[in-house]
Symmetry: C3
């Protein structure tokens, strides 16, 4: 695995560049990402390009032996461009145009901006497409960040109507598919359809779902235009994009299919603070992040990549600036995060950023260097990680154990119609992922269309609309299967299937969900050490009632190799189900100490301690790095025996 | 009492209609409501009507012996109509036009839409006004639902100015009435008056109150236009409207005076979740709803009806789709709710809906049938209720015990100027209602103008502006009277009366409120088993200090037959006051077991257990239905002895 | 110290005026503020003035011996004026124009309204500038109240561009100063710059800070225009403005420099409820307000006044109307508040309002009289206070002990970039102020440019950008110094200084802050009786680690006479640091009983009990008023020995 850094030569005096490059190389970094926010320096006036500084920056980095990942600067169009087309901004859900002054200030549906984005991409690619230092391209930056996938602009409305006409052909088909007879919502032409925001009460969920799918497709096609230009003008270089954490507004599986590599931006402490983890977890892991945040995304984005190539292009090296509260990582965490990425098969971990900028929005975001160019605590950990990696060599091929099925479409369906506040397919997946990982199992998070061969166990946390291909694959699968609530409960147009839930999954698990409930937090059905909470599915089935609450509520049904978890898959309930399923699948679930996680390849077993106390881990294999007395933020690597 | 269902033939293949009709009749249902959302099917293009399907639907239902309640479809104008008049939408408090895509997307003040609503009402009434199956009309659907009474549109502003000119005659009178000299808010003409939203700090409360009254009047006149057409074209049929729960934005007493029957839509579980009940109540009654939600509205809407005719046109039969959390009712609750309506004198309970729709917004809203046409749990309970009703015959005439005075105007005044967050006349009324009902008393909720004869006791929970008629009636009344805080504290123009509060009520209770406070939750004055909380009135009076807190705060004053509750009327305080007043009035307050409620007619005593445990009830009378060991969700009926 | 009242003759029949005036004088009041909301009565039609009523009102008050403070009515322009220039309203952060119907409905940058404000000020000053009864002017009313300093209007945008051009000269300087190279935010001209609201993610903090400074300057220049007219037309009268509590949106130090007297509006109970005090404090002090609310503002606004002249122009006399909850003050509090102002050196305490108005927005706001003209509880306390003041004579000259440095600019910087939710320079200052006052110390809150001579101790709670003048003054200061976290951490353009924090303060305290963190509430580093919380600064320094947490976190560093508090300065931590610093400075910190506060002059020691229990205070000096057994809301005054 390579290490790298994100660097902004335009932020620093030119006479600092060579020394920066040297220090990067000395620290064991071999790749450097640049350029993704530099449009106003590349093209300071319309049509007037200033390549000189960037030529020199690239050559300086190249001279130090660094490989360059070059970004297209389309996330930050300059003010002069925005002034040329004031309707290029996205419009928010309240109908307000968003403005200039930060970044990502464009609507994916604006044709004028699409042309400009293609123009600047072509210009940069023409200049540097064959430069020997340039080994990879990044398209744009963090699609979807700051709620930028979905726009309620006129441009979006017009494009949505066109997209609908393409999808449904005639308006009657759309009316039928959406059930528009309900509440007299029938349209007489595609040009009558509005965006689903600002309605009196909720819009038709089918309307929302179509709009979510359209909005995702706009991101994918915007990205594809850049990829096509880059492949034309910069042959034999990889193209990647940097996804964010917990962003689900566009379909990363779709994006991954058109990229060479999927990368992501890993900020475990910021994500812990900003996403709905429990207060207990937020307190316990304040300086580490929840132990599964990084791993979940590693396993998710690896599953998004066409050929499994992935990496971390932005790794948190210290406190960030953007969360409600911004603590520093526990000493050791920067190294731990780096090696956890290695254990999951990353090809690169690149730290964001090389040096903390003293100005503008991110001035309180740490770098490997402090603003005064002294080493920040993260730098030593990066150097240590480089040494560890050199010591370990290749991470080894992953052991396949559990496939966890996740789809972005499922997340949009459950966000559109959660039935119970705060519940969705993503968080069902995260919750099951945690249970599996606490049992020491390797998990691959894969799309419904992925191949299930080689796995001992499959979990489908929540997949309301089930593709036929998955049904076939699951029927052919003879390992253990866990199906979570709401799976199979919807058609592809977000209606209830003819024979009720679990719809197509009846082929696998013969049952009918006669009623679905959602419960407020605190209400539960108590079982033997577990509780059924939040989402309940009531089944008519010949299956065995495997876990039954004291009041008779069945929390888990079992039919042959398939278990149906009939409540929100959390805590002791899903842990018990996962443990039973894994054992039957021939896996060996363990009980890891609190905060400890492992990841297994054919070469190594990696162990990581996200907790605040030293923990003793007992794993088969010879100690290769660290020891089985795993200190807080500690890493141990054992040779697989 | 009759039973019925809400049915949408336009949602289902025509070949299912006859079987649906037969099954309804078999289940003991005799009435079916249809048509209220079908505008786009009745008039698919402007001026082009398609009556065929509706003719056949009505005839099919008729053939099965069902009586039809037909709705005017004005809550769901089609898209082609909205496109003709894009300014017909209501505008929200933030100044944003609301859009097409759900329902109730019109502003009550838009003259163009008023004309269209009259046109379609006339068309439907002409077609079916004399059809033998049609026994009742419903105007529109759920006025005020989804915050649709109040609109900040230009149409509303223009109509408001006209309304003000009618009310005040000259602008000087308005300036004086509102006290516009304050902060130089004086107007020089009615055309200078704006709507009270988006001001810098709060607008004049008198301005708000006038706007609230105007907004209510717009609903009433909109409704009246439909009633006039229906009475003209469909003689000898009843006209009703379906009110929602806890909607107070328009004056239901006014509405009731122009209807033949007042009906309402009873969703106890959704209301429990969405309204400010305590967390403890939300946990205890998650599957039952608070024990007083349905009864409160029964007693309230009965008091709204000109001749006391009322019913439940939409009864929750299982989980709904629209609350934050949507649990299923406890087994037995659908029957319990039905019989509780009977006990309060309903003429109809109609379940919403016959069959769960598999598409669009309400696809997760249960029906009596599942989407696959199998019986949902609610159907069996409806059948049981039909059998119970047949068994019991007439419910009997209600026993008059306590009159509780509520006015919508009072609610608007207290919402406009709550002085203490979250407090209002409605919740004062609900709180006293609960105390009375926990004491086993029959309560009628009536407007200030209603006749008090026959009652042993009157409660005025919170009536800031007191009509002269009520003062006279109370002076003539020799039973027990309870007056709650803030009563009499305002003039009709929301100012402080010349002699201070309780204003006109001084005729009844000689006192002066020298100071009114509001306290944050948690602050209280502790008494002997009770506390004075939230709203405090300090009185100068010769009355007896009946309940005095340890620190000297007087929570209840007594003068002759009148008690003044000088704090927020909740919990043990109002229970104690109610008990004393009732005992003096010759009523016999009891202490019902937790969760148990009763309702008494001259024929029967009904007992209902909303709790989670079996309770023993000891009531005079012979067991006629059920037993005095009342299980959770159980009903017992005793013959009045 | 004089006493007074705020009076609105235009609200009352003319035949009540003389009696009101007589009763004021009888109560011991000598000053009366009038006129500040009377524009629509002074100029009912454009250009048509009605002076008669105001002439008579002034003469009536004068005849009773009262001195008049006359307000310019510019906070309440009439509707006819707003209709002439509909773009005069401020625009809120969401882009919505605010409207007519309350007060303060103007944008400070609107040139048309500025001309109108000057015109009416000139008219009033011409009429009454030389009237013998008029002794003081008030400009406008409560600048900034109801969030009215900052406007996002087109007028504001245009004025901001002009202001920026004045400040930066050329656009390149602005780009460099703000670091606009970051995210390609570079501008090519001042006319490209937008306001910082409605951006996609946060705007550049330097952009925000400039806009905050500009917005403050607009208030100052708006006010200056009135002052110039008043000084021209009303020679030898004082000009003051009435500031609100906890309003920091404009720079009160700047305002104070152009006024003769700074006054403020003291509503301790409303402020307690509406500002982020702990729930425990809100419960403990529900009827008193937090013990430091009034004193903090007394000491702050005294420091704003050019010559130290200040007063309370609006003193809460009973419950207010505008907080979420509005309790009554504990008996005695109105007197206590009055004498606390005296102890801090006020020249006037004026009660708001003379008589409670029965109409419009503030009808639930108590006065000294009830709406029925009877005495409200506050009147007796005012009379008692007048007697106490007469008894005591002059308050005496204040003892200088601790100087606390606060700047509005610091507050804007920390609001712009809090790094940790809810933390800011203001609340750091309030927290340290409380610790000092609990130790019985006199505190002056002064701007960074103020003279430090005479103080034994200086506290700099949080001053990110440090003026050179303060650095010099602190270097020359040989008493104890406390520096709070984030001090010196920013340049004047909100970037990180070249050598990192504490920037210029390194001259005083040799250290480098290598890392700054913010922690969520509940996370802490436990020390010996104290905790390090919320904001943490990590230092490289040769200084002594004076307070070290169990885990090694250093919470307080000490170097010579300077202490650096490296965590949020709250609770036991800052109390311990303050105590150590004070003792070293030769002050004698005490431990006052809970809720008790003192203030010392060269003549008296005043003691106030804000608690709910009687407390024994042991102070040197002879009892002059009250006794050392200090009852709840009690005041005692001792002659300084
Ligand atoms: Zn990033
Ligand atoms: Zn309904
Ligand atoms: Zn004020």
């Amino acid at each position: 695995m390579k290490l790298g850094a994100c660097y902004y030569p335009e932020h620093w005096p030119e006479d600092m560049w060579a020394d920066d490059a040297r220090r990067m190389a000395d620290a064991g970094l071999s790749r450097v990402r640049i350029g993704e926010f530099a449009w106003s320096r590349i093209e300071p006036e319309p049509g007037v390009f200033d390549w000189g500084w960037l030529d020199r920056a690239i050559n300086t980095l190249h001279a130090a032996g660094l490989e360059i990942i070059l970004g297209t600067p389309t996330a930050t169009p300059p003010k002069w461009l925005a002034d040329q087309m004031p309707d290029m901004f996205a419009v928010d859900v309240h109908g307000r145009s968003r403005g200039f002054g930060s970044r990502r200030h464009y609507c994916f549906s604006h044709l004028g901006y699409r042309a400009e984005a293609a123009r600047i991409t072509r210009a940069v690619a023409q200049r540097y497409g064959n430069h020997p230092a340039v080994v990879m391209w990044q398209t744009d930056n963090e699609y979807g960040c700051h709620d930028t996938t979905i726009s309620y602009s006129d441009a979006a409305r017009d494009a949505f109507r066109f997209w609908l006409a393409q999808r449904y052909g005639d308006i009657g088909s759309l009316n039928t598919a959406w059930g528009n007879v309900f509440w007299s919502m029938e349209y007489r032409g595609f040009d009558q359809i509005e965006l689903p925001n600002l309605t009196v009460t909720e819009a038709n969920p089918a309307h929302w779902l179509a709009f979510r799918r359209f909005s995702s497709d706009q991101v994918i096609s915007f990205d594809k235009a850049q990829i096509d230009i880059l492949r034309e003008l910069s042959p034999n270089r990889d193209v990647m994009h940097n996804a964010m954490g917990f962003v689900t507004d566009y379909d990363h599986h779709d994006l991954g299919q058109q990229l060479d590599v999927v990368m992501w931006d890993s900020y475990p402490l910021g994500f812990l603070e900003m996403f709905p983890f429990s207060d207990a977890d937020k307190a316990a892991y304040v300086r580490q992040g929840h132990p599964d945040i990084a791993a979940f995304h590693h396993d998710l984005y690896r599953g998004c990549a066409a050929d499994g190539r992935w990496g971390v292009i932005e790794q948190q090296p210290g406190p960030v600036n953007w969360a409600r509260h911004n603590p520093a990582p526990l000493p050791g965490m920067v190294r731990l995060w780096t090696l956890e990425a290695m254990a999951h098969g990353a090809e690169l971990v690149s730290y964001f950023r090389w040096r903390q900028a003293p100005f503008a929005q991110e001035q309180m975001h740490a770098g490997l260097l402090r603003p005064d160019s002294q080493a920040a605590p993260g730098l030593d950990e990066a150097i240590q990680a480089a040494s560890d990696i050199a010591d370990l060599g290749e991470a080894g091929r992953p052991i396949k154990e559990v496939a966890l099925i996740f789809s972005y479409d499922a997340e949009w369906i459950t966000q559109t119609q959660p039935q119970g506040e705060g519940l969705s397919a993503l968080w069902a997946a995260f919750s099951i992922y945690t249970a599996l990982r606490e049992a020491g199992l390797n998990v691959d998070i894969i799309p419904p269309r992925a191949d299930l061969s080689g796995y001992a166990m499959v979990a489908v946390p929540c997949l309301p609309a089930v593709p036929d291909q998955l049904v076939s694959a699951l029927k052919a699968f003879d390992g253990s299967v866990i199906i979570g609530p709401r799976s199979g409960s919807k058609t592809d147009e977000l209606s209830i299937p003819a024979g009720l839930a679990p719809g197509k999954l009846k082929a696998l698990f013969p049952a009918t969900v006669t009623r679905s409930e959602s419960l407020r937090p605190g209400t539960h059905h108590a079982g033997d050490g577990w509780s059924a909470t939040r989402w309940l599915d009531h089944l008519e089935t010949e299956a065995e009632a495997e876990l039954v609450a004291e009041d008779g509520m069945v929390a888990c049904w079992k039919s042959a190799n398939v278990r149906y978890c009939a409540a929100w898959p959390e805590g002791a309930l899903i842990a018990e189900i996962a443990r039973r399923a894994a054992t039957e699948a021939g896996l060996e679930p363990v009980t890891l100490p609190t905060g400890v996680r492992v990841r297994k390849t054919d070469t190594y077993i990696f162990a990581f301690n996200y907790g605040n106390e030293t923990q003793q881990v007992t794993l088969r294999g010879i100690e290769r790095l660290g020891s089985s007395a795993l200190s807080a933020a500690g890493v141990a690597v054992f040779e697989a025996s």
